[in-house]
Symmetry: C2
Subunit: 304 residues, 2 copies
């Protein structure tokens, strides 16, 4: 199985605390690093957890609140000091350009690589990135400003060929790829051999969904349905439900309701308000609805 790991760099919220860092996480897909959100201090967290800056492939910014972006200038500057030459692709809302441009102009002549900003559609699901093994989809969340969630969806992998069948039916080498992709085999005598006799299914594609920041919003469910892992914000405990509603955030219980309704396999809650010194209440409130819940924490690695 190829690697599909999520490392939490920060799972705090707007107000930093000594317990949690502003939002950021890394998705390690087969040794390529994809970053979601980049709060202040993200590059310091990368050093702390010894994640390789050189493997950073692309950045995905959910929305333009400061706690999700203030680590960008420092990260970009450090990548340049490290001599990066590969283009850096950043997927975010259009206005990031306006916010970053002066800094980039200022650093511009010294920057060792080029930055490409790819504006996302804030109101519609779309595939924003695709390579041989992965498809990354952005979809609208429900927050005070335009905010998108992300789905990292592994592509269907080829079925496994049953070695003995190649010999038995004398399947020519040039047809193997098609059969692995699902085709039947037709013998010289014209007999069709169904694919499921020749192959075994590949492991099902894995899916990781990221929903932060967002109010409780059932309209999101179709986008994250059946994910192996859902990271969902749980800024507040149920006692702060009205504050959650008012600020377009979720309670831990609401995060769990989303996980249950979307029939995901596992839920990780994060984006904790700095008011909580301990998170047992949040974990308990979520687990009552959705037992396969765990708390995010800086440095935690979740493997799919």
């Amino acid at each position: 199985m190829t690697r599909f790991d999520i490392t939490i760099l920060g799972c705090g919220s707007a107000m930093p605390s000594t317990l949690h860092h502003p939002p950021s996480q890394l998705i390690d897909l087969n040794d390529k690093l994809f970053m979601i959100d980049c709060g202040e201090g993200t590059q310091l967290q990368m050093r702390k957890f010894k994640t390789r800056m050189g493997k950073l492939h692309a950045l995905f910014i959910s929305h333009l609140h400061g706690d999700h972006i203030f680590g960008l200038p420092g990260l970009i500057s450090t990548l340049s000091l490290l001599g990066r030459t590969d283009d850096l692709h950043i997927y975010s809302h259009r206005e990031l350009d306006f916010m970053l441009k002066p800094l980039l102009i200022y650093m511009g002549s010294h920057l060792s690589f080029r930055i490409h900003l790819h504006p996302m559609n804030p109101s519609q699901r779309e595939v924003i990135y695709e390579n041989k093994t992965i498809r990354i989809i952005s979809f609208p969340l429900k927050h005070r400003i335009d905010t998108n969630g992300f789905l990292f969806e592994e592509k269907e992998r080829p079925r496994h060929m049953i070695r003995e069948m190649i010999d038995f039916y004398r399947i020519p080498l040039r047809q193997i790829a098609a059969i692995k992709a699902g085709a039947d085999f037709v013998t010289e005598e014209g007999t069709a051999v169904p694919n499921n006799i020749l192959t075994t299914p590949a492991a099902p594609p894995r899916k990781y969904a990221y929903c932060s920041d967002t109010a409780y919003a059932p309209e999101i469910i179709p986008y994250i349905e059946g994910a192996d892992l859902l990271y969902h914000e749980a800024t507040f405990a149920e006692s702060e439900l009205s504050r959650a509603t008012e600020t377009y955030h979720s309670t831990a219980r609401q995060a769990a309701e989303m996980a249950a309704a979307a029939r995901v396999k596992k839920l990780v809650i994060g984006h904790f308000s700095s008011r909580y010194n301990e998170l047992e209440t949040l974990l308990q409130e979520a687990s009552e609805i959705f037992p396969q819940t765990e708390l995010a924490d800086e440095g935690k690695i979740l493997s799919l």
Copy 2:
């Protein structure tokens, strides 16, 4: 004595490391906090060392390299989340306006206080801030871009009146202030009593000088002469002298030479290159020239 403390929040340099944070420090003058430089993560360091955000009075930015300013957006945002209403004054080079404006516009409608940017003269000594007890002077350093050092200079305090002399010469209350300020006293008979019979000197005004980032530059000496404490960058050991010269930084030995030539009382070296895991060599090289040297460190408090 009123408080005059310097707290080091970060004494690393451009490339962050797990050992040192980007540059920032706080000068606590009688319970008002003045900040010099604001690298990424400064607000997190303030929390870590339990310095009071509410006491932050004004900010002074030596130059516009990222490691000295990337903590500003997060700090400003947090001050606003905390509900600050006092205006915030930032003293820096003019271009900071251009770099921060888009972020401020973006946050603008939510910001709970006003920001005033005061452009500094990059090529000439000038008093940039003054209140009853302190005078803050900026002066040019020698770096790759416009960079200023800062001198925090306590004002002369009034002399102490010798209580018995008031009775002895029957000095009227209304003349006390003038005598404390240095005036002689003239008796009713017309005899002048010299001030030094009536008063004892106040404690000498204290001075703190900050020089970072800068190449070795003897022309700076007059600006920092006789300081009680000099913070001087010492990015490199002597073995990297050519690298220091090339990048307009100083070696520890050069910092010590500046301290000796300016006859300061004490030297603190900082802005350490991330290449050094231990700093004994730098301390030793500086101490050979100027024995009253110590190493900066995150969380260290230097009292004048």
